[in-house]
Symmetry: C2
Subunit: 306 residues, 2 copies
């Protein structure tokens, strides 16, 4: 059976209810998403921010705050530090950006005393549910790491595999993308792709099947894989995870998918102590709720592994 | 009125009938596309190759060769050199790959004596007609130039502008893509994008409007441009041409578009003495005919400029 975003939401609903700490929660779109997430039973929430503004926005936009905790902290940075501290000390399980600049938000994620840094690489993952594609399709890194080194790509794969497992994919197929399907010494990303596949064969990259270099069609289109006579390959149009050469290729493809392809999606920051949500204003309500659901299943997995 | 691939086909039909020289024409898919192009009045053709095989394939696949010229030359390389020579000397206006490896075909394009090289950069252009996007959308370079320098990007833009004009776009908008919309000194492609925009303002890059760096959504999605408050930009979701940082970003996005987005498309090699078609086996019949139509309008323009 195909895993979809409904499957992720169901997983989140079935597991232990996780708690979200929101930094500078006085944002109507974020409040609406948190209300929905709470209502459908995928997350509890603590709203840290300007209580008066939060309550005013709720009234103005018909948002019910029933069952949501509010902590009043009017100053932006302090509000974020308060929220992230609760996640740091395990009083909350996920961290979410409200009305503040991404840069200021990330500063709190990286805070030495109360932040969410671990010894793992922090990376971004976007998960797509595309009608016509027979599985969830994750993409990384499309937003956070500009030009990952080979070792950073290895860690990006580790992070993605963790998320895929949390979503119910037992042995995800990881396609390391490039413009071509063979190693070309003049294209460093093809050498790295082959090296990542080798590291997987030698057991250095675990719990997944890595193949590369692969073109986008060989990775995601079974009929193209047939045409190209891809026998002997481990991935023939059935990738679960796409790893990009760099943020340029990743971000442009991600935005193409987001704007040109019918889909549902969600994304989180991973490699952190707890899954972190920094959706942008241009994301619609559904995407924000999907991102909370994605964070919730990852938080549940973290919880189970403790 | 929106320009579509039907507009391109109509342009080709209205103009002077151009002649296609096909190298190693004994390929049923290529023959079928050439038959259609001839039948709908967008191109005449000279089929160079193994006459017996060509005629056998025609019978087997119900393809009519009426009105198509055949030149018998059984040996592959010789056949291609004969075909490209006819284009070189103006006996034909477009050059197309039949049953042969791309590498061997390109060797004939580059042949010093009878090839199609000019003092311009050779580059690839893919033209998409996407329902929901209000204009034709061209992408370059997604297949030919691995890591274009700034000057090569300038020439890629020139080549694309020529094709856009041939398709009826008077003043094309050229978006130089990147993951972000501002110059970041750590991302060379953003610096180059800003430089290309400056070269356009100074009149070094002519007959078009260049803006960059631009993210894919700012370039192609008007509603995203609104969200991001892109006032003051020259392109707000209305790009005609997308220029990619490198072949990795270009090819992966191109394949994503080709396989995930409902579209019609065609592509040619440009910067050559005459437009050159090297569709791949996995391209469907319609894409092959579209590519011939695209080559025909470019050839007509070349003809008018003589």
């Amino acid at each position: 059976m195909k895993l979809t975003f409904d499957s992720i939401i169901e997983l989140a609903q079935r597991g232990k209810r996780m708690k979200l700490a929101v930094a500078s929660a006085q944002d109507s779109h974020v409040l609406a998403a948190v209300e929905t997430a709470h209502k459908i039973g995928i997350a509890d929430a603590i709203l840290v921010g300007n209580r008066v503004k939060i309550e005013k926005l709720a009234v103005e936009n018909g948002i019910s705050l029933d069952g949501l905790e509010i902590i009043n902290e009017e100053e932006g940075e302090k509000s974020a530090l308060k929220a992230v501290e609760m996640v740091h000390f395990g009083e909350a399980d996920m961290y979410m950006k409200g009305l503040m600049e991404t840069k200021a938000f990330l500063k709190t994620v990286l805070d030495k005393n109360v932040g969410l840094r671990t010894d793992r690489l922090m990376s971004h993952i976007a998960v797509f549910d595309i009608p016509g594609y027979d599985r969830l399709l994750s993409m990384s890194d499309v937003a956070f790491i500009p030009y990952p080194t080979l070792d950073e790509k290895r860690q990006i794969i580790d992070n993605c595999v963790g998320v895929a497992k949390a979503c119910g994919v037992a042995m995800p197929k990881v396609a390391v993308l490039s413009s071509i399907e063979t190693v070309n010494p003049k294209m460093p990303c093809t050498i790295e792709a082959a090296e990542l596949a080798r590291m997987n064969e030698e057991g250095i990259i675990k719990d997944c099947i890595v193949d590369g270099p692969l073109s986008f069609d060989l990775a995601t289109a079974p009929e193209a894989a047939l045409h190209k006579n891809a026998s002997g390959r481990k991935i023939v149009g059935d990738a679960d995870i796409l790893i990009f050469p760099d943020i340029q290729a990743g971000n442009i493809t991600y935005k193409c998918m987001s704007h040109m392809v019918n889909h549902r999606s969600g994304c989180i920051l991973t490699g952190t102590k707890a899954p972190t949500i920094l959706t942008s204003r241009s994301d619609d309500m559904e995407t924000k709720v999907n991102s909370i659901a994605l964070a919730a299943v990852v938080a549940q997995q973290n919880n189970n592994n403790k």
